[in-house]
Amino acid sequence: MSAHEGMQEPNYLEFKGKYKGIYSWIFSTDHKRIGLLYLFSILSLFVIGATIGLLMKFELIAPGKTIMDAKAYNAFFTLHGIIMIFAVVIPGLPAVFGNFMLPLQIGAKDVAFPKLNLLSWYLYVAGVLMVVISQFTGDQAPDTGWTFYAPYSFRTAGNMLPAVFGAFLLGFSSILTGLNFLVTIHRMRAPGMTWLRMPLFPWTLYATAWIQLLATPIVGITLLMIVAERLFNIGFFDPTLGGDPVLYQHLFWTYSHPAVYIMILPAMGAISEIIPTFARKIIFGYKFMVASSLLIAFVGYFVWGHHMFTANMSGKALYIFSLLTFLVAIPSAIKVFNWISTLYKASIYLQTPFFWAMAFIFVFMIGGFSGLIIGSLAADVHLHDTHFVVAHFHFIVFGGTGFAFFGAAHYWFPKITGKMYDALWANIGLTVFFIGFITLYMPMFFLGVAGMPRRYFDYDEVFHTGNIISTMGSWILYSGLSIIITNLFVSLKRGVKAPADPWGGSTLEWTIPSPPPVENFIETPIITKGPYSYK
């Protein structure tokens, strides 16, 4: 089975398989290579999405038209949403670092179904292509926003079908990844790795995978209904045919709220890896961390209605959703308390990933607390569909997932590439990025309270100051982003060679060489103690 007996186990980057060049990547079923395929596709799309965001912010620098008209603006925020939600943050941590690290952290050779894993990447690419096609064919680019709200989504002249189908394919890809992870975690843990000896990142992936598996089909069928509606005029959500547009929102958010937890749970998992490693300390309240992940996934399934507080639901539905929304905040709070408590009497090694983790905790708190505000019925009636909401979800989705993504990228960079990144530039990038982030999104809270609705191409003079600050923030943020990404790419070429365990981590991935050998573990590890066991 292994043709490479002896000491010279080639690492996965140098391994010569059946195929050469690019084919050795796009036909590879190695979870590590697939992780990198995802990394490059997601990073490219992220840069495109961020650039669109930059242009949108530039448009908003002053009232009236500056660089684009309303039509282009509407198409841009739709594309920005579809790319960022479906193609960047949902697959972001699970598909990239989950694929790469899950087998390593539980001591497995690969995921349970390597071919299926590759198929999910192809579905992902196909989905992205469909979205791209929707932009350049048909009368007009889609202009519904990423939510595809009925009945506008089948009234508009925008080219909806490819975009909706693309989102469907991206969802399918996400389902297959989740399925793969669930079976991997159930069946392929190394001997001795009981459930409660599993590191927290796999645990969050486990909770995430269940949401991917059980929530995504609902949006799948909803998108199919929209397709059918546009093609055959069936009337599911068309009020003139008796359908109820609010039902569309129910179905859409039944998936899309849990999707927020698909984004944030693995982010929390990555942070839960970084903190103990750099604190040289066992994580505080391991079992509570596990339980809170599962609880978030479970309760998170039933809070979708808080996206619809002003949609004229029944009063009973409204306050039950509001109550559940407040309750789902508790497990997240528990996580924050546990992270900070882990630092108590620690021996903290201050490195870039740890700074990212700290920044994550800070912006995540802002995102979480602002979430409480709009979970409150009386406050949400005013703040719903304003820039307050835009600020809130960027703090959670970009602040939370994005910060954790870059934290994880720096943390595992030595393991993945075998090189060390340049710490000075990494820290500069983080600082600029952080300042830009706060400058960009903080003013939106104030704009929202002042009453500026979201998805506005143009606005009244009263909202001008906030928008100027926000636009300037977008420039700073983008500069920070460029520094971070450039630094990582330059380090890939010029970085010094990384040892097996540069941070002194205690999970399994640090016990093998960097970059890992093709088969991951030369000998199957036998686990005798829990994760994060430091002396």
């Binding site: 202009d143 709200y149 009945p151 506008y152 009234r155 508009t156 002249a157 009020p239 008796g242 609010v246 604190a279 300390k281 066992i282 994580i283 309240g285 391991y286 079992k287 509570f288 002003t310 949609a311 004229n312 409204l318 306050y319 509001s322 109550l323 407040f326 905040a329 508790i330 709070a333 528990i334 408590s341 630092l343 620690a346 021996s347 903290i348 201050l350 700290m358 800070f362 708190m365 802002i366 607390f369 602002s370 409480l372 505000i373 979970g375 409150s376 019925l377 009386a378 406050a379 009636v381 005013h382 719903h384 569909d385 304003t386 009453g451 979201r454 998805r455 506005y456 191409f457 143009d458």
Partner: protein, 316 residues
């Protein structure tokens, strides 16, 4: 009009403030506390100062404490939000009723005496109940100063109500994305004193007579403006959502009828059809399904005046 300080613009401002500032206060307390604690730990337990970590794997009492306390606080937050929202569900019986009709991309407000207006004009200190009607897609009526918002869902009749407490002018926006001109779908709320309101309300002169000047077609222009037509059609020849009025009347147009291209002459019949049954013939190059029928909204006499206006454009 400068708003009087000290009086809330509507009855919801105080309950919003309670829910909002309570959560903000608690959140800030936690945020500052936790951030300071985190920075203090990072400083104090730096590896230069503390070479060996003390392994503590958890503390049940602490976990219970920080589960229970946030839960209680969250329940309190929920309560304030709920109690502030509860009154919104039922309008007082003595509320005056206005029906708001939203279409792409304008609001109009119909009063009980048949008066319609582009602005929402209400008397101060009298509860107002607004029946919400959307004709095409979902819109949302949002008055930031009043801290109130409600979606307008086509096919469903819903309502919102409020008590304006301070005279003045306030912005009214559409808050649910509804297509191209979404950000221009706005209006004004005018809160008048009892007398001013009565004067306005009883002045039942038709909208059309408010026309500026007496140039030919000015009445027609006023009608187009009042019905929100100008959101999609221009008079200067530029293409918006629908065809421009300029040089339209009496010209040849290519329309799509039953999927086939047909040349037609723009005459009175055509204009009538375009207003009452807009989707039967679509001018080539324009999207279908965006315009709703104006049957019962624009009368035949008004169409005469609109045509007069169209003709006047050709002469320029």
């Amino acid at each position: 009009m400068q708003p009087t300080p000290g009086i809330d613009a509507s009855n919801y401002v105080s309950s919003f403030n309670l829910a909002f500032y309570f959560i903000v206060a608690v959140s800030l307390l936690f945020m500052i506390g936790l951030t300071v604690l985190m920075l203090y730990f990072v400083f104090k337990y730096n590896r230069k100062k503390n070479a060996r970590a003390v392994q503590i794997d958890g503390d049940l009492r602490l976990e219970i404490l920080w589960t229970v306390v946030p839960t209680l606080l969250a329940l309190l937050m929920f309560y304030f939000g709920w109690s502030g929202w509860k009154p919104m569900t039922k309008a007082p019986d003595d509320a005056m009723v206005v029906t708001s009709v939203a279409r792409m991309w304008s609001f109009s407000f119909a009063y009980e005496n048949g008066k319609t207006s582009q602005d929402l004009v209400v008397p101060v200190n009298k509860p107002v109940k607004i029946n919400l009607v959307a004709l095409d897609v979902i819109h949302s009526l949002f008055i930031p100063e009043f801290r109130i918002k409600s979606d307008m869902v086509p096919g469903r009749e819903t309502m919102m109500w409020f008590l304006p407490q301070r005279e003045g002018q306030y912005d009214l926006y559409c808050a649910e994305y509804c297509g191209l001109q979404h950000s221009y779908m706005s209006s004004t709320v005018k809160v008048l004193s009892e007398e001013d309101y009565l004067a306005w309300y009883t002045d039942t002169t038709a909208v059309t007579t408010v026309a500026e000047g007496s140039a030919p077609g000015s009445e027609g222009f006023a009608i187009l403006k009042a019905r929100g037509c100008n959101a999609c059609h221009t008079s200067d020849g530029s293409k918006l959502i629908g065809p421009s009025y300029l040089n339209l009347f009496g010209e040849q147009q290519i329309v799509i009828r039953d999927g086939k291209e047909v040349p037609v002459m723009v005459d009175e019949e055509y204009i009538k059809k375009a207003i009452y049954d807009p989707n039967s013939e679509i001018t080539k190059g324009y999207p279908k399904g965006l315009m709703q029928s104006y049957t019962g909204i624009v009368s035949e006499e008004e169409i005469e005046k609109i045509i007069e206006y169209l003709k006047s454009l050709n002469e320029q």
